[in-house]
Symmetry: C2
Subunit: 195 residues, 2 copies
């Protein structure tokens, strides 16, 4: 690495935060990873908390960008849900460090920034919930379950992916999405006409 940029600092911070947590990462750790002293980082950033804010904001932005794109998708609500799920999986697997930090280190944020994260999560969740409601209306999804609860269960599966899935394993990303889709749509029930 010839020259450390601010971008390098933020990215590496994301990696260390996702691996060891915010409180488990020192500015000296971060500097060492980049080949410079901890104190030299302050030429690039204001402080440690700013790094966390920036990494977490990136995580939030990736998800929101994915959700925004679904507004333009034509078709049934079920089709839009499929697109939402694909987008979520892509975000998790392509921005693992930022996503992990966003999901698990937000508690280390100062009050204002933490509230922003909660707001962002609620906005993102609301997109899923809307689609669930639309699905009940257009008949492409069940109408008798609580859309909010269904959203939470769906996101629980999606957010946990980074805790077990490895792209180098025997399950491809497409297969992963298919498995999720089948599980969420059809469930474990055996006497299902779609089998």
């Amino acid at each position: 690495m010839t020259r450390v940029t601010r971008e390098d600092v933020v990215q590496t911070a994301g990696r260390l935060f996702s691996l060891y947590g915010y409180h488990g990462t020192s500015m000296r750790d971060l500097g060492r990873e980049l080949g410079l002293l901890g104190s030299s980082l302050y030429a690039h950033v204001d402080g440690k908390q700013q790094l966390l804010v920036e990494v977490v904001e990136r995580g939030a932005r990736f998800f929101q960008t994915s959700a925004d794109a679904v507004g333009t998708v034509e078709g049934t609500a079920a089709e839009r849900l499929r697109v939402l799920i694909e987008g979520h999986v892509d975000v998790v697997l392509e921005h693992r460090d930022e996503v992990r930090t966003y999901l698990y280190e937000a508690t280390a944020l100062d009050d204002d920034a933490r509230q922003n994260v909660l707001d962002a999560r609620n906005r993102y969740e609301a997109v899923f919930t809307s689609v669930m409601k639309e699905g009940a209306a257009d008949g492409s999804l069940r109408s008798d379950l609580d859309p909010k609860t269904a959203t939470i269960f769906t996101l629980s599966i999606l957010n946990a992916i980074d805790r077990w899935y490895s792209e180098s394993g025997r399950m491809s990303r497409k297969k992963l999405v298919d498995e999720i889709w089948t599980f969420i749509l059809k469930g474990l029930c055996p006497t299902n006409p779609f089998l």
Copy 2:
């Protein structure tokens, strides 16, 4: 609190670890919470890492005890799965601090203890996977899905409960289990004969 016991120390450590993380909790924080100095804690425990090990082990033990009980349940695999799910929900909601520390702070454990946690998780997961396989065999669950993947998805939903569910909210614990059960069994698909 008249007299601080070792049990008080471990329990309070669990609470702080679950709230602020292992690295976000100092021995002085823990002492303050108990009304004594950080250095006084060493009359009760060997060190901070020992506290983490103990809290995490409790989390693992609660889950394993729940899973062990299902071995005695008669009936179909689907019925045993339902019992496993009820047990998991009970453990999460009755031992939130230990469970959160078990799930999210295991990375702060020393190598040996962390390996023990991974082993314990695999043992517990294997109970679910066995039941999924039995369900494929006895016809009470679908036979065309990967039992390992179905286990992961189910546990993803169950483990995320502590991140959103509040016992003081409008959803009772029984209703929660019912919602999970319906979602996992029947999915979001509308044209289902069980509706």
